[in-house]
């Protein structure tokens, strides 16, 4: 009898204990659903928006000593809508007819850029070891205990109240107001809404101001749950909240609220009862240790894979998208053979010169950076493969690279294999993991592939890494994840110079593989699927098979690169190299520079490794000006600019999915062609662009 009541009381306590974190998830999930409903954007930047308001509130309230109300007004009701309006005006207005995948990529870029822009402008440095204050006086110090088993703090009760109240208000807004209906209409088709006499610009400005305000409010309410204040915490929270939001199919506010609360309670229940089960079943122990962080990702992944109705819920396209001009063709298709040859010779010559200078003259630190750039370029070829060729967004490339790194660590360090043998084996393992993962994931398509791979990356980060057969367990805790450099015949790759050569050779081989696949049957199949999946299927192409191959090859490339990176650094360095957030940055880099070409990947590798020391620290300007000192006052520029620049670089993804390099190249090719055409005949070309634009341009040339 006593045991039963004891269990009952524990159960109730666990439920109540799960309510405050559940409310936090619910709050973010509500905001997520709100943004998706009112602007059609799967907004991974929601966490960044929330963080900025939370940081502003902290700065005003704690650092400047403002009282609660003005600080709240500034951070939530002034700054947040301003950010929303700015995003709408500068970014999303031009993306309205873009695909949902393009919008998703842009929000990833924003989620990296926005916190850094804020921190640069306000000179805000993240808070560590101090809990930010809530929005009620002494919120963390006063407790209420309505049921006699778990005391709620005043902050927690405020959050619960605000979440429920906000849900009711928003539900009423959608049900009863004209603007709620208009927002939903604009999401589907801004042009058709305008045909009804409604100003779609204004409606979407209202949506963004509203959802951004909500993000700000959520941020300020959530901040007291951490004892730090840093952007990554908020991003993780968004991934958790997506799991809750998805339970409401991304459109139902009450279900998002319930999903968030349920998630919090389930985690709390498992935290209470799992340790008791573990005493009788010891094999559960690794799960118990990592279950709390992993539950949302498991739920997210499971729901996506097992609930097919989810991905069919919103695949409606704008019927009037035909009004937009068609996307311009790639430069490669329009360039003449001669200029192609010249460009190739110049590129190879320049690369050769750089390689020679680096090989013979570079000091150890530059040698390290250049080698890293080459290895990163190899990893980025995996993005070229999956995003550039197959048109899928994968957010777990870092995880595949980590499998390569840990594979080498396990096989070479713990089982005494040569790393040169271990690296290909690790690549094969990653390919197998990739293929298995792709079976459920790639059927999803579009944004759901991105979300499922994100869930996988976080799952790996939270759970898999802790297993001794992956991350090394206690051995790695005691001794780190060290990886040796190989020796092959006469070459000892412990020498950095020899290792650079090895890295370059691997990069060239992988490039050739990618080019071969791109030009071969699989490449053409993938292009056909991208053009029209239905049409491809109707002529007997199996989209699943081509995509599985693409995903497996991509995983293998990433793992090979990850193995090389670990060998190069003589350590796996999971945290700094392969965390889920690094996967996001990689994608952003490759996509903004060019995801379809080898050059794009190579440049992205260079940008990752040497953009910071070369440009931001002023080295190049020092060389140009021949001054040994950096130009004072300007350099060094904060490395945050790297995230800002490339984050904002994704903005052009929707209009120019080929990336900056390819866009620039096609423009020069087109202007060259126009100049050649106008040169022989007429001395002055009155309207050269018009001429090249005319449909009968072929006749005049």
């Amino acid at each position: 009898m006593t045991l039963a009541t004891g269990v009952g009381a524990d159960f109730l306590r666990a439920l109540l204990q799960g309510t405050p974190p559940g409310t936090v998830y619910a709050l973010v999930a509500l905001g997520f659903v709100l943004t998706y409903k009112t602007s059609g954007v799967f907004n991974l930047a929601f966490g960044a928006q929330a963080y900025v308001s939370a940081a502003m509130y902290y700065k005003a309230h704690t650092e400047w000593g403002w009282s609660i109300i003005p600080a709240l007004v500034l951070s939530v009701f002034v700054l947040a809508p301003a950010i929303g309006l700015t995003l709408e005006r500068l970014v999303f207005r031009y993306l309205r007819t873009g695909t949902s995948v393009a919008k998703l990529v842009v929000t990833i870029g924003i989620s990296l850029a926005l916190p850094n822009i804020f921190e640069l402008i306000t000179n805000f440095k993240g808070v560590v070891g101090r809990t930010p204050a809530g929005i009620v006086p002494n919120g963390a110090g006063v407790f209420y205990d309505p049921f006699g088993v778990y005391p709620f703090s005043r902050d927690e009760l405020t959050t619960i109240g605000v979440a429920v109240f906000a849900m009711l208000c928003l539900a009423a807004l959608f049900r009863f107001s004209a603007i709620g209906l208009q927002m939903r209409a604009v999401v589907e088709s801004p042009r058709m809404t305008e045909l009804n006499g409604i100003r779609s610009d204004r409606v979407s400005a209202v949506s963004w101001a509203l959802s951004s305000t909500f993000a700000g409010l959520a941020g300020v309410l959530i901040a007291p749950r951490f004892n730090t204040l840093a952007a990554p915490d908020f991003f993780n929270l968004v991934v958790v909240a997506i799991a809750a939001a998805i339970l409401g199919r991304l459109v139902s506010l009450p279900r998002a609220l319930a999903g968030g609360l349920g998630l919090g309670m389930v985690i709390s229940l498992l935290g209470t009862f799992l340790p008791r089960w573990v005493q009788s079943n010891p094999w559960l122990r690794p799960f118990q240790e990592n279950l709390t962080p992993a539950v949302p990702f498991v739920v997210l992944f499971g729901v996506l894979v097992l609930w097919p109705a989810i991905r069919r819920s919103r695949e409606v396209s704008d019927p009037l998208s035909g009004v937009d001009p068609p996307i311009s063709s790639l430069a490669l298709a329009t360039r003449s053979a001669r200029s192609h040859l010249i460009a190739r010779v110049v590129t190879v010559g320049a690369l050769g010169t750089v390689a020679a200078i680096v090989y013979f003259r570079a000091d150890a630190s530059w040698m390290f950076l250049v080698t890293q750039a080459v290895i990163m370029a190899t990893i980025y070829l995996s993005v070229t493969m999956i995003t550039g060729l197959a048109g899928q967004i994968s957010l777990c490339q870092g995880t595949f690279a980590a499998i390569g790194g840990f594979g080498v660590y396990q096989l070479a360090t713990l089982h005494g294999m040569s790393v040169l043998v271990a690296a290909p084996i690790a690549a094969v393992i990653a390919a197998a993991v990739g293929a298995v993962l792709s079976l459920p994931v790639l059927r999803l398509g579009g944004i759901w592939t991105a979300v499922a791979t994100l869930a996988f990356a976080f799952f790996f980060d939270a759970v898999a890494i802790k297993f001794s057969w992956v991350g090394g367990g206690n051995t790695s805790l005691m001794q780190g994840t060290r990886v040796p450099r190989p020796v092959l015949g006469p070459w000892d790759f412990a020498d950095d110079r020899a290792f650079l050569v090895l890295a370059v050779v691997v990069f060239i081989i992988v490039s050739i593989v990618v080019v071969q696949i791109r030009g071969g049957t699989i490449g053409r199949t993938l292009r056909a699927i991208r053009g029209s999946e239905v049409a491809a299927q109707s002529i007997g192409i199996s989209p699943a098979r081509a995509r599985v191959v693409a995903f497996a090859v991509s995983a293998a490339i990433a793992a090979l690169g990850g193995a090389l990176l670990s060998i190069h650094q003589k350590n796996v360095n999971y945290g700094s190299n392969f965390s889920p957030v690094s996967s996001l940055f990689w994608l952003v880099l490759v996509v903004s520079l060019g995801s379809r070409t080898i050059e794009g990947a190579a440049l992205a590798g260079a940008a990752y490794s040497i953009f910071d020391p070369l440009i931001l620290r002023g080295t190049i300007f020092g060389w140009i000006l021949r001054s040994p000192d950096r130009v004072p006052g300007i350099f060094p520029i904060s490395p945050k600019w790297r995230l800002i620049l490339f984050g904002l670089g994704t903005l052009q993804f929707a209009r120019h999915p080929e990336g900056a390099v390819e866009y620039w190249r096609s423009r020069t090719a087109r202007s060259l062609a126009a100049r050649q055409r106008s040169a022989p005949g007429t001395p002055e070309a009155p309207d050269a662009p018009n001429e090249s634009d005319a449909p009968n341009g072929a006749v005049t040339s």
Binding site: A185, E188, E194, N196, G197, I198, V316, P325, D693
Partner: protein
């Protein structure tokens, strides 16, 4: 009398592509004009320019004598120009009632919305039975009826109707044209883009033939049927397989 809609020497296109080259069209109040032509001659582009979906690259679009070239689409709608676009023309994610409510709230004001809704449901009982159904799950013909219900209750001063009969059963096409006739009798002007020549000419006062982005002929509707036949046969060599269906409809019209 100023024309309700006037396109003055309009050229338009999509990015590098040009679809219209110096087209001039006038629609008087209460008048019904048919735009005829084979596939790919610029009929839909003309309709889009007429309702502001597409800004002309040169030339002018005048509504009620006021120059509206390049202004936002919603201003055209507020000036009384309605557009029933080709293909799906309802919000697939909204319910039937919400589709109507969205439009009536704007054109009739909050107070008159319930009355307008009631009228639409009275005219189209099929919609009343499905008022809470998501519009995307309606059949093609039912979606058309929803679009027609919207414009009939709104009574725009001009309706631009683009290929309303496309892909519909003959019985539904008849119903659509009954609705259009009713609109015309209530005083709305019509600009009808159509490949079903017979239906269009029976309804319209005037017809305009487009050929490769320019106006090749315009005149009274009763003379048009003959013109269409010869016109389509003359250009048969230049047009592709779609010309055949044009012939067929032209023949039935003649």
């Amino acid at each position: 009398m100023t024309a309700l809609l006037e396109l003055r020497n309009v050229s338009a296109g999509y990015g590098a592509f040009r679809a219209l080259f110096g087209v001039s069209v006038e629609v008087q109040p209460g008048e019904a004009v048919a735009i005829l032509g084979a596939n790919g001659v610029g009929k839909t582009t003309l309709a889009r320019v007429a309702t502001g979906l597409l800004a002309p690259t040169s030339g002018a679009v005048l509504v009620d004598g006021a120059d509206m070239s390049g202004t936002a689409t919603y201003r055209f709608a507020r000036a009384g120009v309605a557009h029933a676009p080709e293909g799906r023309s309802v919000f697939a994610t909204l319910s039937v009632e919400d589709n109507l409510r969205l439009s009536f709230r704007q054109s009739k004001g909050r107070a008159n919305t319930p009355a307008a809704l009631a009228k639409a449901f009275e005219l189209f009982p099929m919609l009343a039975a499905r008022r809470h159904q998501i519009a995307g799950t309606l059949s093609g013909g039912q979606q058309r009826m929803l679009a027609m219900a919207r414009v009939i209750v709104e009574e725009p001063s001009l309706l631009v109707a683009d290929e309303l009969s496309l892909g519909l059963a003959p019985i539904v096409v008849d119903e659509v044209y009954r609705s259009l006739r009713r609109l015309k009798e209530n005083g709305s002007a019509l600009l009808i883009v159509e490949q079903h020549v017979g239906h269009a000419l029976a309804l319209c006062d005037r017809a305009i033939l487009l050929d490769r982005g320019t106006v090749s002929w315009s005149g009274p509707a009763r003379e048009a049927a003959e013109r269409v036949a010869t016109h389509v046969f003359e250009n048969d060599s230049s047009s592709d397989g779609d010309g055949d269906s044009g012939d067929a409809t032209a023949a039935t019209a003649g």
